[in-house]
Amino acid sequence: MTAAFSLPDAPANDRARPLLVAERVTKSYGEVVGCRDVSLAIHPGEVLGIVGESGSGKTTLLKVLSARMAPNAGTVSFDAGGRGLADVYAMAEPARRALMRTEWGIVHQDPRDGLRMHVSAGGNVAERLMGTGARSYADMRAEAAAWLGRVELDVGRMDDLPRRFSGGMRQRVQLARNLVTRPRLLFMDEPTGGLDVSVQARLLDLIRELVRDLGIAAIVVTHDIAVVRLLADRLLVMHRGEAVEHGLTDQVLDDPQHPYTQLLVSSVMTA
């Protein structure tokens, strides 16, 4: 037998304290239920996938979690700067804005919602740095270039406007714009939706590598099981506005318990 190599000591338990906690959040649009009574906790470095059919409340829940849409009931708390959990809707507006600019990132399904289309790719990334107090033009430009390189965009095109980029390239600019401030939590709504299959695959590989290498937590909304199988540690299954099942990704996909999850998983298997 080859000499067993020595394993490093277990790392300190930096994952034990939750980063974000939602308690019984409900959001209705008049008579229409968006999401109902959903509770969850995200720990540092975890990737949570939210799956479910169209209209099941995934986007609604993500908006509520990311402080963009106040719930009718329930609370969302975040451990900003490691100072302990605080209700994001009870925060003063400047504190909430600071959170969104630094510790959170949001990757929208439609890049036009997440990028300034009349500002260059490099400018889009630098703008977020400016929000954190960076001032030197040369430094910001260098940092933006580094991040555009990291998301595998041709740095030679950093002065181009995003509207001249393909869908996959725009998503890369969004990623760079969000990651440049090294957020602790990334919210993504269908990040690979509407892209060609091959472009989707490359982008997924990239997201998986970045999230793992940077150790950031992420919440990914998608209706695509293949996406969460690759990206997510855990799944939350939404059905008619309710979270009907949650667990480790392999638990939910290999041993689904709820009738809706069984249907969802079996329809993928036979597809």
Binding site: F5, A10, R15, A16, A201, D233, G247, L248, D250, D254
Partner: protein
Amino acid sequence: MTTPLLHAEGLSKTFVLHTQGGVRIPVFDALDLIVTAGECVCLDGPSGAGKSTLMRCLYANYRPASGRVRVMHRGDWADLTGAEPWRQLEIRRETVGYVSQFLRVIPRVPAIEVVMEPARARGVPAAVARDRAADLLARLRIPERLWSLAPATFSGGEQQRVNIARGLIAEHPILLVDEPTASLDAANRATVVALIRARKAAGAAVVGIFHDAEVRGLLADRGFDVALRRVAA
């Protein structure tokens, strides 16, 4: 050594197939199993008895209807089945390894990185993990020209050997192996037996499913008949 490392207590599992009219498949009920350091327990029983189901429950892949699985983790007993997800993943990273029957390929990731990954997840430096992965792949006779390719196109036996290397690299104190030699030739079978024996000698608690009587004889200290724990349907 007789230090218990794994304890399944009152474990029950029934599948309910909601998409097929709510059919219930009871598999086992109120099952107890203790596995100690350095011991290898072979799960026995005919096809469909529930051997793989039990093993998956021990990994918290399948969720038992009742009962729990406790494991010795970081020097204390931890409730694997009832733990929060981040903690379940921590236990899998550090304490419980599982060699499934089939490799679940991560698309586009080269074989050597598939093997390295569990060691990297435990914080082993990339260069060390790569050397160790290369050593395991070589011992398992995976030709070097395949190491940089994604295993999706590998033969069944090659995929299984990549899977075994991946399952062994992090040297978990508890090792679960589901038919690790099923599609291997005699030479590779002998290698796998030697690798698992080495884990036992190092104090790992091993739970295995071995259809091959010879392999079973070389590895198992005792059998555990899952069929005897079956519930009448």
